[in-house]
């Protein structure tokens, strides 16, 4: 079984490039060039230097003793929360902006939901001196004001997406439209492993540094490169893709995807795509997505703005379809409780997205010999208002 992308841009039956002709030249230019550019020594040198000196990599692999005692297994935390800008998102934006420069692009556009990818994009645009426009749902701009201001401080223009439900999926549509309107000088930095091929593969490659580091770090600490479980939360799925990447073909490593279940999948207020989704096409790729019987995209719900995406990346749809990954769903309440537990047990306040990954721990049947790596994808500073509003601590 092949879990990576094939030469046609598919993961099993998922993926591909379902795009209007207006986007074809842009996507084709990327598809023809991305692998060669990433392989260039010059690219790698700059990428590795920036990951080390600017992002602060490698991020630690930390043995979480008190959580390990509680759950009766050896639990390690991959500290992506310690990356510059507070989450794994910047690994991808660094990679894509170097790529954009190599392609001769003069300006950058991006979509953002909660604002984390927008901030990571605005950050690297400031770093490289490129103009940046971030599309963000008008509703999300209202909900995530501090991130809007962060992007503006960094010099980015934040444009509200006023169409549809005015959230992440509409911001993505607006960014695609902006790209259609500026086909030659602009690069679109997609923030997750979604969108038309080659985006899911390209973003996964830039995030794969996470699992590359886990392997040698675990070897140092446990004398083995492969854990029994790798656990990550999944909205679009970029942190999970990065944490799984170098374990995809090692079937003795269980991959665990944790979805946001909002108020519970039976309430209609959920983002649990593996339960509620059906095969279809969303934002240019064939995947699992939440939709009506008539094929209209349904607006998902989660307390975590980074997980309320109506689909999952095609790689994850394939991992689900082939049962290569286990899927758990964790409600708002379970995730918030897990966030507080991690804060109290380990002194780390996680992003609420990441809290979902921890929320799977009580649902997993762990043995004392198990080695579990949880990808701690982001820190919780940005979520303080949500923590306070929830109040259960």
């Amino acid at each position: 079984m092949q879990y990576g992308v094939d030469e046609r841009g598919y993961y099993g039956k998922f993926g591909g490039a379902y795009i209007p002709e207006m986007l074809y030249p842009n996507i084709e230019e990327l598809r023809e060039n991305y692998l060669d550019i990433i392989a260039e020594p010059g690219f790698q040198e700059e990428f590795q230097m920036l990951l080390r000196d600017y992002v602060g990599r490698p991020t630690p692999l930390y043995f979480a003793k008190r959580l390990s005692d509680k759950y009766g297994a050896s639990i390690y935390l991959k500290r992506e929360d310690l990356c510059h800008t507070g989450a794994h998102k910047v690994n991808n934006t660094i990679g894509q902006i170097i790529l954009a420069k190599k392609l001769g692009k003069k300006r950058i556009i991006a979509e953002t939901g909660a604002g984390q990818h927008g901030v990571a994009t605005a950050t690297v645009c400031a770093l490289m001196g490129l103009p940046c426009t971030v599309y963000m749902g008008a509703v999300d701009m209202e909900r995530q004001k501090p991130n809007v201001e962060r992007m503006r401080i960094l010099g980015a223009e934040v444009k509200p997406a006023e169409s549809g439900s005015k959230t992440l999926k509409d911001a993505t549509n607006e960014a695609m439209r902006a790209w259609i309107n500026n086909p030659t000088d602009t690069h679109y930095i997609i923030g997750s492993v979604v969108g038309p091929h080659p985006y899911p593969d390209m973003v996964a490659r830039f995030q794969s540094v996470i699992s590359e580091e886990i392997r040698w770090q675990l070897k140092e600490k446990e004398g083995r490169e492969t854990p029994d479980y790798v656990v990550a939360c999944v909205g679009g799925g970029s942190n999970a893709a990065g944490a799984f990447y170098h374990f995809l073909n090692e079937e003795n490593v269980r991959l665990v995807n944790v979805e946001a279940d909002g108020m519970g999948f039976s309430t209609g207020k959920s983002a649990a795509t593996s339960i509620l989704g059906k095969e279809g096409v969303l934002h240019g790729s064939r995947t699992l997505l939440m939709q009506t019987e008539d094929g209209q995209v349904v607006e998902p719900y989660s307390i975590s703005a980074g997980l309320d995406y109506p689909g999952i990346g095609p790689m994850h749809a394939h991992l689900f379809d082939t049962k290569r990954a286990d899927f758990y769903s964790v409600t708002d309440e379970e995730a918030m409780k897990a966030c507080v537990e991690v804060s109290r047990f380990e002194g780390i306040i996680p992003a609420i997205e990441t809290g979902h990954a921890f929320g799977a721990l009580p649902k997993m049947e762990l043995k004392s010999s198990d080695v579990v790596v949880i990808n701690l994808s982001g820190r919780g500073d940005k979520d303080l208002a949500t923590y306070i509003k929830w109040g259960g601590y």
Binding site: R8, G16, A17, Y18, I19, P20, E21, M22, Y24, P25, E162, S163, G164, K169, D170, N173, M176, R177, I180, N181, N182, P183, T184, K278, E279, G280, V281, L282, H283, G284, Q291, E293, D294, G295, Q296, V297
Partner: protein, 259 residues
């Protein structure tokens, strides 16, 4: 003979007007009213849009009409119900336009079969990749007598245009500029160069120019460089404001065609 071939054969001089409207907009039951008014007013081809929640290639006007139509309850099932028996009254060629996801959920073969049953001549599915069409769906389209219309833009390479010409039937939808639908403006020198470049290629399919066509002036300019032109967003604006669809549509179509 496919009605699309017929209309180009019967009008060698061109000047064909193709009008897009969204099914179920402004009211759910306006689909047939608008279709009949367009035929009576002398429209040459009609493109009926199947509304979708996330129409990536469309601008705000068409997206908003899609949202309203979905809110009105328009679905592919409902559209086929509305179009049942329409060929007793309507003889112009009709193309259905929409995004692939709702069609996939309906079932592509069943969709094509229903298209034939109600008398549809062609399809525009902008996010259906050509490779997938050729590898999987082409025999189904052909079985039900449906032409698949592809788009080209100023950025489309010559090799790609040739490939599209090879696999398109009826006409090629020539997007006038790098833009989404509803973009404003008159026709620029750059666009004229693009139209001339494509005209010099000796393609087997006729072209219709779309995007940015709104009135008699832009329509007749476009007709100098292709067999005709397509109006979408401007027509959506018209029907949204209209209190008498039949009268307003007739006046508008006559004005655009210069009668």
């Amino acid at each position: 003979m496919n009605r699309l071939d017929q209309v180009f054969e019967n009008n060698p001089e061109g000047n064909l007007l193709n009008v897009y409207f969204t099914a179920g907009y402004p009211k759910l039951r306006d689909t047939r009213t608008i279709l009949h008014a367009l035929e009576k007013a002398g429209t040459d081809i009609v493109e009926i849009g199947m509304p979708y929640s996330d129409p990536m290639a469309d601008g705000p006007t068409i997206q908003q009409s899609n949202d309203v139509a979905i809110g009105n309850g328009m679905t592919i099932h409902t559209l086929f119900d509305q179009l049942q028996g329409m060929r007793e009254h309507v003889s112009l060629p009709i193309v259905l336009m929409g995004y692939i996801n709702p069609v996939m959920q309906f079932g592509l073969e069943k969709f094509c079969q229903k298209c034939q049953e109600v008398g549809i001549d062609g399809l525009i599915l902008p996010d259906l990749p050509m490779a997938e069409y050729l590898d999987i769906h082409k025999p189904t389209f052909e079985k039900y007598g449906l032409y698949n219309v592809f788009l080209i833009t100023p950025q489309t390479s010559e090799a790609r245009i040739r490939e599209i010409d090879e696999n398109t039937h009826g006409f090629i939808y020539m997007v006038s500029s790098a833009s989404i639908t509803g973009a404003k403006g008159s026709i620029t020198e750059g666009q004229v160069a693009y139209f001339n470049r494509v005209n010099a290629m000796g393609l087997r399919n006729p072209r219709l120019i779309g995007f940015g066509i709104s009135n008699h002036e832009t329509f007749s300019t476009a007709c100098q460089y292709a067999k005709g032109a397509i109006i979408g967003s401007a027509f959506i604006n018209l029907v949204r404001e209209s209190h008498d669809l039949e009268k307003d549509i007739t006046e508008y179509i006559h004005a655009v065609k210069g009668r």
